[in-house]
């Protein structure tokens, strides 16, 4: 057999046998569809987790960053001395340094009075540590006592802040301390925080009376123009206390991502979910292919007696697996798009369906079906034409 016939004929036979029994076809397709949706959802949540985990660090505006070595991630920092940050000013390449204070605290919904935890950042209003437009024209106002900016992309449980502000309601409580919301910015929620508030470093100390200006959560360093970030990082590292990490922007992002992917159990859970989805799909497809071969054993033996070779039946089984993969994937894809939108509207975290995810899942599903085919093929050996007569 040559060329197209080499695959076309066995594929055609596989197809004819598949569509002959509609009920079984639907069952098999549902199995693949299920696995497909499961994997799509796991990957979707995982990616959304990673993307949102880095939502705060992505907006950071600096060249190098200091963080305590025991800080596993930005949302659960271990404080270190501000003097450590100040020491870096001794290096000629360092232009300016700013501390960032952060803490989780309950925020009272103005409408319902219900408190819910969000992330509060304290910073020097002029520093522009966060590259956020909402921050730009509020720098002077933010210096006033007890003023804060609120993240418009926070979860709705904190109240419809934009409407409330327009209606003139802007006083609420953070950490049981009275504050005035003077504006909005857009950052976004993450698995660590349902919302964000930015305030000045001085106001931060007022909201958290047991915090101390000299204990900071993150140090932001900006370098003189035209200096090597890497080189400066190396030189500074030798001067710094051993308990402090110094990261470039990229390293900080990576560190945050790595926390969610490997240190927090969440990354593992999604990986586990993905594998489980594939295993369930594998078992279903294997079961289907296996019974299929068993049911067609006599037919295969007949064809063998007619002169068809073993390879032909291998291709029939793989073609079946391939068709099941396609037939399950297409509805699985559309169902997942719908579920992504549903999840987005519930979690307020972005869940984009992008081409790389589609390809990844498709390759997963395809390999899953191929593996099932590979396992089922052993059963072909039992189709012995000598037992046919």
């Amino acid at each position: 057999m040559n060329g197209i016939a080499w695959f076309y004929f066995p594929a055609r036979l596989a197809w004819r046998q598949l569509i002959f029994d509609r009920t079984k076809l639907i069952a098999a397709t549902s199995g693949v569809l299920f696995a497909c949706v499961l994997v799509f959802m796991q990957l979707g949540f995982r990616d959304s987790l990673y993307a949102s985990a880095a939502s705060a660090p992505v907006k950071l505006n600096g060249d190098l960053f200091l963080m305590h070595k025991q800080s596993e991630a930005m949302w659960r920092p271990v404080q270190f001395k501000r003097s450590e940050l100040m020491r870096t000013l001794g290096h000629a390449a360092v232009a300016e340094v700013y501390p960032l204070y952060s803490a989780l605290a309950p925020f009272k919904n103005i409408e319902t009075q219900i408190k819910r935890t969000l992330m509060v950042y304290g910073l020097d209003p002029d520093s522009m540590i966060f590259d956020l437009t909402g921050l730009k024209n509020k720098q002077t106002e933010l210096r006033l006592k007890d003023t804060v900016l609120f993240d418009e992309f926070s979860r709705p449980e904190f109240g419809p802040m934009r409407q409330l502000l327009m209606a003139g309601q802007h006083t609420t409580e953070i950490n049981d301390y009275k504050v005035t919301v003077i504006g909005l910015f857009r950052l976004g929620v993450s698995f660590a925080s349902d919302g964000n508030v930015i305030t000045s470093d001085l106001n931060f100390m007022r909201i958290f009376p047991n915090r101390n200006v000299s204990d900071i959560d993150l140090g932001v360093i900006r370098l003189q123009p035209n200096t090597s970030i890497k080189q400066t990082q190396n030189e500074l590292r030798s001067r710094l206390n051993e308990s402090v990490n110094i990261f470039t922007y990229e390293e900080l992002l990576e560190y945050e991502m790595n926390y969610w992917a490997n240190i927090a159990p969440i990354g593992f859970i999604f990986g586990f979910g993905t594998v489980m989805g594939l295993v369930v799909g594998l078992v279903i497809v294997y079961q289907i292919l296996f019974t299929d071969i068993t049911n067609h054993r006599n037919e295969f033996a007949t064809l063998k007696a007619m002169g068809y070779e073993h390879g032909y039946f291998v291709r029939v089984v793989f073609a079946s697996a391939f068709f099941l993969a396609i037939l399950g994937f297409i509805p699985g894809y559309f169902l997942s798009i719908f579920l992504y939108q549903l999840a987005e509207s519930q979690t307020f975290m972005p869940m984009p369906m992008n081409i790389s995810k589609v390809l990844t899942v498709f390759v997963f599903i395809l390999s899953m079906c191929a593996t099932a085919g590979l396992l089922a093929i052993r059963k072909l050996k039992s189709a012995n034409p000598a037992d046919m007569f």
């Binding site: 046998q17 006599n298 037919e299 007949t302 064809l303 007569f389």
Partner: protein, 225 residues
């Protein structure tokens, strides 16, 4: 006339060691081109076993089995496959693929041949089905046909590739007298037209009249060769 099947001193046993069960004992038989040979014999005498060895479906190790000038004793899979491709089989049960129509079933024989276009395959197959009297049933599934019609589809499938040899193992066993006789008559007519050799195993004495020669196998030996 040329000899297409030449068996010399073939012996075959199932099992090994103490459990060895000799089934064929020193069989010698030659069958010429175009001959129709019927093989009868009591149940368990080894007829089916003999047929599967000739057809390249079972490996024998002792004696000589030349089929279409190929030695099947201790042969490679490749040789067996090529012999199978030149032989038409008719089974006791029809063994059609139940998800394929009559036409598609017959066409399966031709799919192994690259020389034909799909169009030609279907035309040949349809022609063969008309020859067995099923011109009106081309697109019927096996389940929609009677037992006799199914066996005729099998005959069409066996013959459509213009095999040199047709092997049939009790092809009429599941048919009533009428359709059984009809089926073998068709088989005989078509085989004679194309000089196809037929080796047919049967218990059915009603069809002995189609044979050029009848051989009887008893306890693994040919009685009246």
């Amino acid at each position: 006339m040329a000899i297409v099947i030449d068996v010399q001193g073939l012996s075959f046993s199932f099992g090994s060691g103490a459990l060895t069960q000799p089934v064929l004992k020193n069989i010698t038989i030659s069958i010429h081109t175009g001959e129709i040979v019927l093989m009868t014999g009591p149940s368990g005498s080894g007829k089916t076993t003999f047929l599967t060895i000739i057809g390249g479906l079972r490996q024998a190790h002792h004696g000589s089995v030349m089929v279409l000038d190929r030695q099947l004793i201790n042969s490679t899979e490749q040789i067996k496959v090529s012999v199978r491709q030149q032989i038409g089989y008719i089974f006791q049960q029809h063994n059609l693929l139940k998800s394929l129509t009559a036409l598609q079933n017959v066409s399966m024989t031709l799919e192994m041949q690259n020389s034909m276009t799909e169009q030609q395959r279907l035309e040949h197959s349809a022609e063969m089905l008309r020859a067995v009297g099923l011109g009106e049933r081309l697109n019927y599934l096996p389940d929609q046909l009677s037992a006799g019609q199914r066996q005729r589809v099998s005959i069409a499938r066996a013959l459509v590739g213009q095999p040199k040899i047709v092997l049939a193992d009790e092809p009429t066993a599941s048919l009533d007298k009428q359709s059984g006789h009809e089926a073998v008559s068709i088989l005989k007519r078509l085989a004679k037209e194309s000089k196809t050799t037929i080796l047919l195993v049967t218990h059915d004495y009603r069809i002995l009249d189609i044979a050029d020669r009848v051989v009887e196998l008893e306890d693994g030996k040919i009685k009246n060769a």
